[in-house]
């Protein structure tokens, strides 16, 4: 071999190591900075302020200077959004994997388009839908928890459909055909054989979508989240949420204490998303392993 390629080889290897170490360093700095600044504020007061935790948890007393309302807001938002999105996404995914033949396959294009639409545009859609309904049908409807949850559901729908479809399509033909061969109906095959078999792929998709709901800020900014609302009282009221609180603090914090709360909130949100994400990876990894051993 001539020398020139070896030199190029070495340069490429050096560059790759440089990139890899660089990325790891960036990651370490981001996480390290957050933990260093936010760790000390992770105390019960961060969440409950001056209110006794038990009173707050029983919703007997309002929390004014803690994250409690924002956490409850995010929790109800995520639950509501997933309640809307999961049945819809599973049903659509089942259709795409099990029923869809011929030209109906083109529906996939629209899911891809929806997956690409920026979250702020989905938020804008939620807002304009609210304005439309407010003007023509329900005068009492304003941007609120329900609208946000609906818009978030639209945001994660394409991921849920795709992960369900992929999980179902990965099932080997032999498994797919054995129940019908024994006389099971198509629906029995889907619910008793195919869905249980693809549970891990589907649940990892659901976990990822949940994380996406919990972290998204752009959608809820346009559809009803506010800086201070207390515990959400109804589906049609405004609410607080963790990601918006973090954004709000970064743009206008009034005191050191508030800034410290912002760091605490960022650590909590990071932790929640990391947990969901790791759970999704573990579940999916198990799935992959099962397939390799077959």
């Amino acid at each position: 071999m001539v020398r020139a390629p070896r030199l190029r080889d070495r340069a490429l290897i050096a560059f790759s190591w440089f990139s890899g170490l660089g990325l790891l360093a960036i990651f370490a700095v981001v996480i390290g900075f957050l933990l260093a600044r936010g760790w000390s504020s992770l105390r019960p007061e961060l969440i409950f302020g001056d209110t006794p935790p038990v009173q707050a948890l029983l919703f007997r007393q309002q929390v004014f200077d803690g994250l409690f309302p924002a956490i409850i807001g995010t929790l109800s938002l995520v639950l509501l959004a997933m309640t809307i999105a999961v049945p819809l996404g599973l049903a659509a995914g089942i259709y795409m994997a099990e029923y869809c033949r011929g030209s109906a396959r083109r529906l996939g294009l629209f899911f891809d388009i929806l997956a690409g639409v920026p979250s702020i545009v989905i938020g804008l859609f939620g807002l304009s839908l609210t304005i439309f309904l407010h003007r023509h049908f329900f005068g009492r409807l304003y941007p609120c928890l329900l609208v946000s949850a609906l818009a978030l559901a639209f945001l994660v729908l394409p991921y849920l459909i795709r992960s369900t479809q992929t999980a179902l399509e990965e099932i080997p033909r032999t498994v797919r055909l054995s129940a019908p061969a024994l006389g099971a109906s198509r629906l029995q095959n889907i619910f008793l054989v195919l869905l249980p078999r693809s549970l891990k792929g589907i649940s990892s998709g659901i976990l990822l979508a949940t994380g996406r709901c919990a972290e998204d800020t752009a959608v809820i900014m346009l559809t009803g989240v506010v800086a201070s609302a207390g515990i959400p009282r109804s589906l049609l009221g405004s609410y607080e949420a963790l990601p918006f609180y973090i954004y709000y603090i970064s743009s206008q914090y009034g005191s050191r204490q508030e800034l410290q709360n912002g760091f605490g909130a960022a650590v909590i949100l990071l932790f929640v998303c990391a947990l969901l994400f790791t759970a999704a990876l573990v579940v999916r990894h198990r799935l992959a392993k099962r397939f390799f051993h077959r």
Partner: protein
């Protein structure tokens, strides 16, 4: 087999409804932005400056902001991602490679707003002190953080397209006495160009569509940025900032033009990726 048709209808209904959402979004943007399409007003969106108090509602500065921030982020992230992908899937150092791969996977899960938050309190003061002028919120700051946001997606996409090269080709290269890097340059790279292009377009779409990073870090001044340290406002940040205005004002209607433009850009990218994919003979995501 009796209940099947009803169930099939139900499943089909769910699929049809989900698919129709992407059309409804487009419809709402067009209908609510309709007043903008009259009397040549639409063209003036691209030529006028943004001065609502003077009745001028041009969004060209925001378009420049979006393009500037996302291109710069892409330029920063592309070499980094390529290097990391080579390290993970070609060089494969036993421990470090696995560690890097896990880290990259984990990084895709970091909330955007948290990344922006770190940017505000870590990178903004740093840029301000390093360059000694302005607030530190500028094109460069936003692009740096945005690069960190899109790099993991690109790396995973690149690794995936590297792993699609048939094993027999790689063994043939081995048999010819190629070093791993020669194998990469002569066999893997030329045959995964479509995947690389797809990953890059996907990342570009993420960069264009992201709101929080630009909103928190780019400074949001309404003027087209001319230098790295100039503040900029993106289309997405503009929507977030104007939305507080009165619903009936023209100012408010403009954001539907921004929404429409963003929709069109991301639609074009989605179609491009699908086109590349078809050429590739398989679905990659």
């Amino acid at each position: 087999m009796k209940p099947a048709p009803a169930a099939e209808k139900l499943f089909f209904g769910a699929a049809l409804f989900s698919a129709s959402i992407s059309l409804f979004i487009l419809l709402f943007m067009v209908v609510l932005g309709l007043p903008l399409f009259k009397d040549g007003f639409f063209l003036r969106l691209f030529t006028d400056p943004w001065r609502p108090d003077h009745g001028l509602y041009g969004i060209s500065a925001m378009i420049a902001g979006t393009l500037g921030v996302s291109f710069l982020a892409l330029v920063l992230a592309l070499p980094l991602s390529l290097g990391c992908a080579i390290l993970i899937s070609i060089i494969r150092p036993p421990v470090f490679g696995r560690l890097l791969e896990k880290t990259v996977q984990f990084m895709t899960g970091i909330p955007t707003v948290v990344l922006g938050f770190v940017g505000v309190f870590l990178l903004v003061p740093f840029i301000r002190e390093q360059f000694g002028h302005g607030s530190g919120r500028c094109l460069l700051t936003a692009a740096l953080v945005l690069a960190v946001l899109i790099a993991p997606t690109m790396i995973l996409f690149f690794c995936d397209s590297f792993s699609r090269i048939p094993a027999s080709w790689l063994r043939a290269a081995d048999a010819l006495g190629c070093t791993p890097m020669e194998k990469f340059r002569h066999v893997i790279l030329p045959n995964s160009l479509q995947g690389l292009a797809g990953g890059t377009i996907l990342a570009m779409g993420r960069a264009v569509g992201d709101t929080m990073i630009a909103l928190m870090l780019a400074g949001n001044a309404v003027a087209a940025p001319h230098a790295l340290l100039d503040p900029a406002r993106t289309l997405t940040a503009h929507i977030a900032l104007v939305v507080a205005a009165d619903f009936d004002s023209l100012e408010f209607k403009i954001i539907f033009a921004c929404g429409l433009l963003l929709y069109a850009i991301t639609l074009a990218m989605t179609l491009l990726i699908r086109g590349l994919d078809r050429g590739n003979g398989g679905r990659t995501w």
